[in-house]
């Protein structure tokens, strides 16, 4: 194996676009790819083009009625269905919605296949991570659930045990619901509590149902959690789950909307969090899964300052390159600052004292630790 990590990507991904004013903007993907190239972190032979997922495979997760609705929305610009969550404010329709979404799913599936076949150790599909999509409904900017389809694929073809790790600031409700009754998929979601934030679910007591009881974990975190508490919590929970579940492969969702600058959330993480999470997952992959690790993207709504850096850190970690102290190339900043409404950051690191200290910090840390104890049945 000479290629350790591969990136699954196609410029067609940029057409997964809900419109200029919509927060889920594919420009972030373009900027990230461009940053990787400017920083010489990726070779052309590390980029693999995805295939469209077959409708048969798609139907292992999504109902035929829903797939048909997405197809109809692909060709009818006036299509609206609240039943299927299409044509709504969150998930407006765009042309070729079915094909583009199928390509993203195909990317995550192919990434999983390459990892299982030993073509690479780790694989990344940044357009994936559409974790709010349900089997019969689009929700929260997500049409098809790429992680869920890839998990079904891994089950059918390899009979694998899968751990799904979700560190997006929003609860991974779609993936959880699809595998709620499945004891061979462990889903774990770290997210800002639903007190204020979408989708409102992801309570500690959601632990799966029936056969799957005990195979869903939810760690809801307080607003203003910040790096230290967030990383402490993740470090407390993940190794324990790996030790007891013994997965064959990891699928990790890498939403980077927990960052302080993110306009939709209130977790106050800094860029350090997005360097540390991949490091931990990477370690766990080698300790427990023979390195088998599929990483996918997710949320991230400060597309100019946060997403390209966070996802470059992820890719760098997958390739065992430390870029945490790097400058961002001037060429890249000059190119993208033309359209950016804000200054692009000069370094990978966040500026010191990016925000005022949070006065309730001890209280918040304490509450989060208590949550962890409850989740792990230690309180």
């Amino acid at each position: 194996m000479n290629r350790k990590s591969l990136l699954f990507h196609d410029s067609l991904y940029y057409k997964y676009c809900f419109g200029e004013d919509h927060p889920f903007n594919p420009v972030r993907l373009h900027m990230t790819l461009d940053l990787l190239e400017h920083m010489k972190l990726i070779n052309n032979n590390q980029i693999i083009k995805p295939d469209l997922v077959s409708e048969q495979l798609l139907a292992t997760v999504h109902s035929q009625q829903y797939i048909d609705a997405v197809k109809q929305a692909s060709v009818d610009p006036n299509y609206i269905s609240t039943t299927y969550g299409l044509g709504t404010d969150d998930t407006p329709i765009f042309s070729n919605m079915h094909e583009i979404s199928s390509l993203i799913v195909g990317g995550t599936v192919k990434a999983a296949e390459y990892v299982m076949e030993g073509e690479c150790n780790h694989a990344l599909n940044l357009a994936g991570g559409l974790h709010h999509s349900f089997s019969t409904k689009a929700s929260g900017f997500c049409v098809y659930n790429d992680a869920a389809v890839a998990i079904k694929f891994l089950q059918h073809k390899y009979n694998a045990r899968i751990i799904y790790i979700d560190t997006d600031a929003h609860h991974g409700d779609g993936v959880q619901s699809i595998f709620n009754q499945d004891p061979n998929v462990l889903t774990v979601s770290f997210h800002e509590t639903g007190k204020y934030l979408f989708p409102g679910t992801g309570h500690i007591h959601e632990r799966g149902e029936g056969e799957g009881f005990g195979y869903a974990y939810n760690i809801p975190l307080e607003p203003f959690t910040e790096d230290d508490s967030l990383l402490t919590v993740i470090n407390e929970v993940l190794p324990e789950l790996f030790e007891s579940f013994k997965p064959d492969i990891i699928i990790s969702q890498n939403g980077c909307d927990a960052h302080y600058l993110d306009p939709l959330t209130h977790l106050y993480a800094t860029i350090n969090t997005f360097a540390e999470i991949p490091k931990l997952v990477h370690n766990l992959a080698h300790t427990y899964c023979n390195g088998k690790w599929v990483a996918i993207g997710g949320g991230g709504y400060d597309i100019w300052r946060v997403v390209p850096r966070a996802w470059s850190l992820l890719w760098a970690e997958m390739n065992e390159i430390d870029i945490t102290n790097n400058q961002l190339p001037k060429s890249w900043r000059d190119k993208w600052s033309v359209n950016a409404p804000t200054n692009l950051p000069p370094t990978m690191k966040d500026p010191k004292n990016m925000y005022e200290p949070v006065p309730r910090k001890p209280e918040i840390d304490d509450k989060n630790l208590l949550t962890v104890k409850k989740v792990l049945h230690k309180a």
Partner: protein, 211 residues
């Protein structure tokens, strides 16, 4: 919402002639705390788990207690002055009866017959369903003046933005002249909604005001 919509229709009961031992077995088996006492379909009394335990001999006494448990009849220990509800009562009325009389259950009587039972837990569950999250949505809390028309104002903003509301309630605010209007809206990005509501003069409470 009516008691009829939330009551349990299959009521587990005892007969006045049943023994204490029988009643204890029933509440243990069904994991319930209240037993209506029924004779010929007519409610004649009620016993709670506490009533039953109060008359049980101490476990610390090492003597054979079987006789006592077998010979004590429910009719001798039951409370025959029972507070009841009707299927057409409002759930909030049932809730205020629980609160006022500090009781845990209400047998539901219609035309003299026992037709159901509603417990504190049933009411609590109703509340959980009313205030909980049944669809992916965001939470918005608006501070409004307690006067006519404000709800319509806020509702108009939501209509104009074409946002679906999945749940809504008003609760008392810390400021006596105000109310807190709590909404769940079906969107992942509530920024525009919050901005418009603020612009209309109603403060939106963010997570900073959580504590």
């Amino acid at each position: 919402m009516l008691v009829d919509e939330i009551m349990k229709r299959e009521v587990i009961t005892v007969n006045p002639e049943d023994s204490l031992a029988t009643a204890l077995l029933i509440i243990k088996k069904h994991r319930i705390r209240h037993l209506p006492v029924v004779e010929n379909n007519i409610l004649v009394g009620i016993v709670s788990d506490r009533d039953l335990r109060d008359v049980c001999p101490s476990r610390l006494v090492n003597e054979d207690q079987d006789d006592l448990l077998q010979n004590t009849k429910i009719k001798d220990i039951m409370n025959s002055n029972v507070i009841t509800a009707h299927p057409l009562d409002f759930v909030e009325d049932a809730a205020s009866v629980f609160y006022e009389f500090r009781i845990g259950c209400l047998p539901v009587i219609q035309k003299g017959k026992l037709v159901g039972i509603v417990t504190e837990s049933d009411v609590l569950h109703t509340l959980v369903e009313l205030m909980g999250v049944n669809q992916p949505s965001s939470h918005i809390e608006v501070e409004v003046i307690d006067e006519p028309g404000v709800l319509a104002d806020v509702a108009t903003i939501l209509r104009d933005l074409k946002v679906n509301v999945t749940s809504i309630y008003l609760k008392p605010s810390a400021n006596k002249n105000n109310k807190a209007l709590v909404l769940r809206v079906q969107t992942m990005d509530p920024r525009r909604i919050c901005t418009e509501i603020q612009k209309a003069g109603y403060p939106v409470k963010g997570p900073l005001g959580l504590s």
